[in-house]
Every structure is written in structure tokens, then in C-alpha cells.
Amino acid sequence: MNYYLLIPFLPLAAFLINILFGKSLLKENAHWVAILAVAGSWVISVATLIDVTGGKTLNQDLYTWVSSGGFKASVGFLIDPLTAVMLIVVTTCSTLIHIYSTGYMHGDNGYYRFFSYLSLFTFCMLMLVMANNFLQLYFGWEGVGLCSYFLIGYYFNKKSASDAGKKAFIVNRFGDFGFGIGIFMIFLTFGNIYYEPVFSQAGAFATKTVNFLGYDVHLMTLIALLLFCGSIGKSAQMPLHVWLPDAMEGPTPVSALIHAATMVTAGVFLVARCSPIFSLSETALMVVALTGAITSLFAATIGLVQNDLKRIIAYSTVSQLGYMFLACGVGAYTAGVFHLYTHAFFKALLFLCAGSVMHAMSGELDIQKMGGLKKHMPVTYATMLIASFSIAGVPGLAGFFSKDEILWLAYSGPSPVGKFVWLIGTFVAFLTAFYSFRLIFLTFHGTFRGTHEQEHHLHESPKSMTIPLMLLCIGAIASGWVGIPPLLHGGAHFTEFMKPVLGHPEGHGTHAEEWMVMAISVAVGLSGIGLAWFMYVKRRDIPVKLAEQFSGFHKILFNKYYVDELYSLIIVRPTIWIAKNVLIGVTDARIIEAIVNGVPAAIGGFSRQLRKVQTGFLHHYAIIMAAGALIIMGLMLMRSW
């Protein structure tokens, strides 16, 4: 089972080939290398999945990466059910999006560059999910962040794009700051940063407390929360969610791959991977659950009023990621990962459809300027509709099963905040259905509201784009079928498959309760769709009126609760101000430089006075010399007396 090595290194090879030879040799054929590599990875991943279902796991070091004193970290691979599922998610989405990109990016003058970044991203993401120690995880973690930086800022001549890329990287660094310290704490605690020994010894520290920066804190809570900082940054949770909406400056396939299906779910993956640590701390779990719940609600409310096609989906992503954390927080890691897995398909699909729409609209993103597109782009419409049904939780589709499992486990699970987050989750399900269909109705239904020129150009996208749409659509429908709960006479295969790694909490509730939770979730989903239809198809005047009636609230929502402005006001501007006016202006210039230049200046001033003694007149010197001679003579005479 050594062929697993090829999974990450095929994309790496593709990256190297493209970045070195893409510009001069490959040019318009750059995609072939990338697609072949990632498709190869996909094939091997499938084979790996089959191996893992057969019960095989693998934990093997390739070589020692860093070793210093007692510290050792290697490049190594751990393949277990969690990794296998992530491999499938990553390689499948990546392959399809690579294919889609050949159409979407056609004719772009950075074609080779785009594909080399995609390959690099795939490599880093695979390194991340296949790691067997925290340092390699961190490598992948930062690596995908880097690719995200490159790809968000792909159109680097645009200021907004390069700003967004930079913002994504720096905001993530805030999260990684905690993550890094988490790794230090793990090393200090276990003397080791490999998953296997760390997780197996974690139980021994369940009740330990440790002094951290002068406070006595519960050790496992501390480690879990520090690691969770990383997750917050990478998965765009409150309060570090600000980068993800801006990240939509990147090309749409990038949004689909990185900012929906794979990279942003790395945070969830981290929590799931470290479930043995998180499970030891009720406080940490509660924080995770509440962060997830609040973020999902928060992002969903913003999503209600946005007009930018991609930003709506981006907020939806933030919201759904919150959902996954909510699941992990109530101890239902399997449900979280299950949602991660179904979400990858339907959210990637949503983005790719949005890309297809943009393609038709020559880059226009304002949904208020669209409408009635369904007759021009039937395939896009159909697939996007299915994806929206899936996210809204319509029974039978992928999103339904994963969302239902989360809500049920939140309701019935052991978590003390379970009922509360269930309530929020259900409400968010309603909002999700509403804004998803607001998007559908405004875009595809009604009459076209853009310019004539745009209308003239409307067309269905090329085959290279629609085929991936259709393939992903299959995923959006069917990917949930591996996890049909026993209540619906399914086998819950997914849960069973994951159990050895993640464990699984048993819901404590009757069948009646389970039916009730499911019914409520379906009901709120459908009513959300209904309300959207009512407001954006039937009575188009209501949204305007509502916006006027609650103009204050609408403004707050529309401006995303002013979080960006707040950060700028309390972090960015004061720091720059201090740098300019205090450090450069006062400390360096007025204190240190004043001393450094002041001492020589004082000496200089003294010598300027002193040099007046040098009159240049020979007689003055002669007199002084005579005086000197006299003094010496006087001293000699005095001595002899």
C-alpha cells in the first residue's frame, strides 16, 4: 500500500512542471499536466478508500523533517477512515474543478499560473489531511493558506483582489498564532507531536491543570481552545470570518475549490482529528458549539440582504461551516465530517454554477441586475436548483441527511448547550433555505434586469464547464445516501465507518422525538423556500418595503455588522498610528536618536567652543608655550626647594 505516496506528490510534480515550463513550453496545454496529476490522485484515493474500508490503516514516516533535542517531526502519512474520506472529498472536487477551469479560465494570460497554483493547493491540502503529526499538519495548513493568497489575488492588478488576498493571509495568521502555541503546548505536555502517541496519552491528562501565563487552566481545555483558534481562522468563524467574503475576489473555480469545498473545511477536519483532545474538555466543546452556532446564525442573517452573487454563497459557506462546528461541539464529530463531505459537493456546485452565470453575464455579480436566466442556461439552472434544494435540506438530497443528523444529535446528545444550539440550528436552516432561494429566484426567475448588451450575450457555458456541474450534481444528490439513518431504514454506513476514529455519541431520545426533529427541519426548510418564493416571485414589493421599514437593521446587515470597520478602527489604524507617531516619531527619533546624535553633538559643540583657542596668531601660541615652560620650570624649582 505504498502507492499512497503518489497521492500528494503527483500534484506537486504537476505544480513543478507547470511553474517551471508552463510559461515557455506548455502555455495553453498547461491544464493537461494538472488534470492528469489530480485525476491520478483521485484514482489512487479511491483505491485507498477501498483499502481502508477493508480495515487497513497506515501510519508511516517518510523522513525526519526537523529534529532538535527532544523535538522531532517528520514528513509522514496517516491513513485512516477520516483521511480516506477527506482524500475523496479533496481529489474529487479538485479534479472536477480542474476540468471546469479549462473552460472558465480559457484564454486567460496566466493560464499556466492558475493551474500550477491549483496543483500546489491540491498538494498542500493532501499533505494536510494525510499528516501524521501536527507539524506536517501545520505545513499543509499554511500551504493551503498561501495558495489561497495567490489565488484570491490571482487578478493581482486589481487592488481589491490583492487586498483580499493579503487580508485572508493575515487574518489566518491570527488563527495560526493560537494554533502554533497549541502545538507548543502539545509538545510540552506530551514531549511529542505525533498524533498516535498524543491521542493515546491524552486521557492521562484529563484532569490536569497547568499554569499558563500566570493563570491555572485545565490543560486539555487550553490545548483544545488553542488548536481551535487555528480552526476559527481557517474556517472563517467569528470573529475571524472577515476574510472569506472578500476572498470572492478570486476566480470562481477557486472559490468553489478552496473557499467552499476543501480548504475552509480544514478547521473542521482539525477539530475532528483532535477529537480525543476535544472530548476531554467540556468547556472547549461548548465553546466550539457556541462559536459554530453563533457564526452560522450571524452569517446567515448577513446572507439575507447581500446582492453579490458570490458573497451570498460565501456567507452561506461561513454559515454551513458554523454548522459543522456546531456538530463537533456537541460531540457529533461524525455528523460534522458527514456534513463537511456532503457540503463539499453542493457548495462547490453552487459556486461553479455562480461561475457559469458570471461567465454568461460577462463578470456581472449583482443579482439585482439578473433575472430570468433559466431559459438561457438550463443546465446551470437545473444543477443550481438541485444544489439549493440540497442545502435547504429537502428530503432525499445529500444536505438533508447530514443536516438532520447534526440537528438530531444536538437535540438528543449529551451536550449541555445541545438544545440551545439545536434551536439556533433550526432557525439557521430556515434562513439558509430562504436566502438560497432568494438567490435562485432573483437570478433565474422573473425578467432580465441587466443591460441589453448583457442580455444579448447570455448563453449556456461550454461542455467543459457543464459536465463537471452535472457530475457534482450527482454528488449533491447522492453523496448523502451513504449515511441514511436507521430511522429511515438506512445503514448509517458513514457513521459506522468513522466510528473507530471519531467515536459516536448515542442520541438519547425516542423515535417520536427523532421524527419530530426531522419534521421540524424539513418544515422550516420548505417554509424558507416558500417565503422566498412569496417575496421574490409573487410579491416583489415586500422586500423593498421591509428594507425601508427596518432601514436601520437592514443597513447593519447589509454592512455585515460593521465588523471590518470595527477591526480597522481598533486594530489596523491604531497599530499604524503607533508605528508612525510613537515608534518612528518618538521612540526612534526623539529618544534613541536624540541620545545617539546628541552625545556627538554635545562633544561637537564643546569642541566648537574649544577651537576658538586656536586663533592662528603665532604670538598667542608662543606666549602659551612660554607660559607652559614657565609652569614646568616653576614645578621643578618647587620640587628642589
Binding site: G616, F617, I623
Partner: protein, 100 residues
């Protein structure tokens, strides 16, 4: 027999006259000659010492002083010529180029 002190007193007198000349004359050539005067005063005392102490080393010193005086005169006068060529004056209080 003339006592050594007399020679020394003579030397002191000549030396002081030289000092006075050096300190007060404006003409650089006369100042220079005052220096020669001082050197001669020293020579007188050295020769006198040599005679009274019955040691020739004093006279060896005189020999060297004469050498140095010759060298000094050559260089000094050359400087004076160069100076005069530029400043057209031999009065030292007209010169303060070395003012700090």
C-alpha cells in the same frame, strides 16, 4: 678661574633675550633669529658644562644642535620664502590661516 655659574647666568640672559625677541617681534625673520639666539644660549651653557665637568659629551650635543639648527634654518627659511610668495608680508600678525 671663572665660576661655571657665570657662564650659566650669561646663557640664561641670552636665552631670555631670545625669548623676548621671539615673543614680541612682528617680523618673522627676526623671530627666527631669536630662535637661533636661544640655541646659542644653550650651546654656551653646554660648552661650559663640558669644560667644567670634564666631559666631551656636552660638546657632542652642541655639534648635533648645530646640525639641527642648520637643518631648521634651511627648512624654516624655505617656508618663509613660500609664505612670503603667497602673502607678500613677513609680519606674523598678518597671518592667521590656521585659525580653528
Amino acid at each position: 678661574m671663572v665660576p661655571l655659574n657665570w657662564y650659566l647666568m650669561l646663557s640664561a640672559a641670552v636665552f631670555s633675550i631670545g625669548v623676548f625677541g621671539f615673543l614680541t617681534r612682528r617680523n618673522i625673520i627676526i623671530m627666527f633669529m631669536s630662535v637661533e639666539l636661544m640655541l646659542n644660549a644653550v650651546n654656551i651653557s653646554l660648552v661650559a658644562f663640558s669644560h667644567y665637568l670634564q666631559d666631551l659629551r656636552g660638546q657632542v650635543l652642541v655639534f648635533f644642535i648645530v646640525t639641527v639648527a642648520a637643518a631648521e634654518a634651511a627648512i624654516g627659511l624655505a617656508i618663509i620664502i613660500a609664505l612670503f610668495r603667497n602673502k607678500a608680508t613677513a609680519h606674523v600678525d598678518d597671518m592667521n590661516e590656521m585659525k580653528g
